[in-house]
Amino acid sequence: MDYKFVPSVCPYCGTGCGVLFEVIDGKLVGTLPNKTHPVNEGKLCIKGWNMHEFVNSFMRLKQPLVKTFGRFMKTEWDEAIKITADRFKEIIKKHGPDSIGVLVSAKITNEENYLAQKFARAVIGTNNVDHCARL
């Protein structure tokens, strides 16, 4: 049996409690509070304690989807990316870069937010970048 604890941060509210993910044989089986973390000092709320449940949910999307004739079809990454890139390029060509908006996210990492706004500004060419801070 292979097991480990991996330090991380709770992805729910903005408090940012330190957690330890319990991993057994490559599966996420539980969440524990980090006892020495400066934010939560070994405590978690009901959402934090059960964080591994949404990660393992059978409802998770497991494949990119592309809608064809009103129905979602499972697709490989290369194709989903290509379709998206082509459609964005087409829209930019026809209506200009400011006809596209990018909503970055309060749930993804700093690195990913940085890339998402870089994508909007450098690749699309628009400052139409926002996220759900107001909501």
Binding site: F88, D98, S105, K107, N110, N127, L135
Partner: protein, 536 residues
């Protein structure tokens, strides 16, 4: 937040306004309890009887949207009694006269008429807050989600500065952030008018720096906010939308209006963990990996940037968001090649001199670092404005009270407010699929006072029909004294009882563009079960 979470424990008085802290930020609430045990005073102002109310030295339930009046009333009492910090005001602030002039008219008696809070309670709140330094003020969306959101925040700052509570430990003005990385998303330039570290896009030096770093020309024209994008979709100006990890169909105001707008788009891409309400109407859905399946950093509400570490391989055929964005970018002809998020982090810190420049993955360790952290030897900053405000002097604003956009009337006689409950999170995409959380609350509900329930002949779990000028929805009743008579509360987590059918997308703060989710006027009736007439 200007201050740190752990610092609340050593406060002399904690002022809670517009945050249901025990339900929404339980591990911050724990510090409030600790502070109470150590002898701190607690003031709670909330239209609902939240759990913290029971532990408060003074708890008031002001009428929805009357925050400015309440805060002005407190400041009136403080100034009248000379409890304000004269030395601090002289040395560190400006425009005090503007504040004094406005609040002089807000006598406790006048404020009592607007807020429904008694003059004695206002006087007691003012005295407790002013006489028990350090006194942190904590707020959340109860202050910001109003047409007067910016006014509310400025009033909170006025009060804190008036008593010398900004720039010292265990005090400050502390907005509790609702999402794990909403602070980070803002810091990273996820806003239409600023790049990373709030460097303005219409500043020539900033644009120049980023153009050179990214090897392309950049627009210096501020873009659209989310609340501007919706009308732009309807007008056909916005054709394509790329949404990452967000469910606006449930989180944005006025569901019918938004639904109509999304249908007008030529192309909608969603990057998600789940097939959310919004993902269902997308053209392409990218299956993203969760935070347990990748490395990176989150920045919490106290500006603490912390590392998250990959615990397991991505589930199914999912990819971390950074990899999806890189691939898409490369496919569009702008090559993004990163082997690890650390490379992205280092690229970002090099472009963000004042706040993140001194951070590296190695330095972050487990505990993280609080920005500003301008260089590699800087220990991080537990509280802001220690030796002076970012703008020089702290500016007071004289702010007059304004009514919310919509008040109850003959046709829509009830106040409606919205918020979260303890077991669920935001639009419920993550918590409702979690067995131990779902069991706590499986359906939506609306809180209604027993007096109103009696008048309308409503029993617990009766289905009520709520309607506003925007739309109508059904939801089971929960009869509770937590809401005052004439006010209803709807949690935002339940897609089958969406509160945003009722809320208004046009009622937004003029500056912050935040929608007034906390105040709407609605009408209530009981759904009569029985023969259902067939309609075409």
């Amino acid at each position: 937040m200007t201050n740190s979470i752990s610092g609340f424990e050593d406060a002399g008085c904690i002022f809670i306004i517009g945050t249901n802290t025990t339900a929404c930020h339980p591990l911050i609430a724990r510090r409030i309890y600790r502070a109470k045990e150590k002898g701190a005073k607690l003031i709670v102002a909330d239209p609902r009887a939240i759990q913290l109310t029971r532990f408060a030295d003074v708890a008031v339930h002001h009428r929805l949207g009357s925050d400015v009046a309440l805060l002005n009333g407190m400041m009136h009492v403080i100034i009248k009694n000379g409890w304000h910090d004269q030395k601090y005001i002289e040395e560190r602030t400006e425009d005090y006269e503007a504040l004094e002039k406005v609040v002089s008219a807000y006598t406790p008696e006048k404020v009592a008429g607007i807020t429904g809070v008694s003059a004695e309670d206002i006087e007691q709140m003012a005295e407790l807050y002013a006489k028990n330094s350090p006194a942190p003020l904590l707020y959340a969306m109860g202050i910001t989600q109003h047409t007067t959101g910016v006014d509310n925040v400025k009033s909170c700052c006025n009060l804190a500065m008036l008593c010398g509570n900004v720039g010292i430990a265990s005090a400050g003005v502390n907005p509790l952030r609702g999402q794990n990385n909403v602070q980070g998303a803002c810091d990273m330039g996820g806003l239409p008018n600023v790049m990373t570290g709030y460097q303005p896009v219409n500043d020539i030096k900033t644009i120049d720096k980023f153009s050179r770093a990214w090897g392309c020309s950049l627009s210096d024209k501020p873009g659209m906010t989310i609340t501007d994008m919706i009308p732009a979709m309807l007008e056909g100006k916005l054709k394509g939308l790329y949404i990452i990890g967000e469910n606006p169909k449930l989180s944005d105001p006025d569901w019918n209006h938004l639904n109509h707008a999304l249908k007008k788009l030529d192309f909608l891409v969603i990057q998600e963990l789940f097939l959310s309400e919004t993902a269902q109407v997308a053209d392409v859905v990218f299956s993203a990996a969760s935070s347990a399946e990748k490395d990176g950093t989150f920045t919490n509400t106290e500006r603490r940037c912390m590392k998250i570490n990959k615990a397991i391989e991505p589930i199914g055929n999912t990819l971390p968001d950074w990899e999806i964005i890189s691939r898409l970018s490369t496919a569009m002809g702008y090559e993004m090649k990163y082997d690890h998020p650390e490379e992205i982090f280092n690229e970002m810190t090099a472009l963000t001199p004042k706040s993140y420049a001194g951070m590296t993955y190695e330095r972050l360790g487990i505990d993280g670092l609080q920005w500003p952290c301008p260089d590699q030897n800087h220990p991080g900053t537990p509280y802001l404005h220690k030796d002076g405000f970012a703008r020089g002097k702290g500016k007071f604003h004289g702010i007059e009270y304004k009514d919310p956009a919509e008040l109850p009337d003959k046709d829509y006689p009830f106040f409606l407010t919205t918020g979260r409950m303890f077991a669920h999170f935001h639009t419920g995409t993550m918590t409702r699929v979690s067995a131990h959380l779902d069991v706590e609350q499986t359906t939506g509900y609306v809180e209604i006072n027993p007096k109103d329930a009696e008048v309308l002949d409503i029993c617990e779990n009766d289905i009520l029909v709520l309607s506003s000028r925007r739309g109508e929805m059904e939801v089971p009743a929960r009869i509770t004294r937590a809401v005052p008579p004439g006010t209803l509360f709807l949690p935002i987590h339940f897609g089958e009882n969406p509160p945003n059918v009722l809320t208004d997308s046009t009622a937004v703060d003029p500056l912050a563009k935040i929608p007034e989710f906390k105040v709407s006027a609605v009408q209530v009736r009981k759904l009569e079960l029985g023969l259902v007439e067939k309609t075409a």
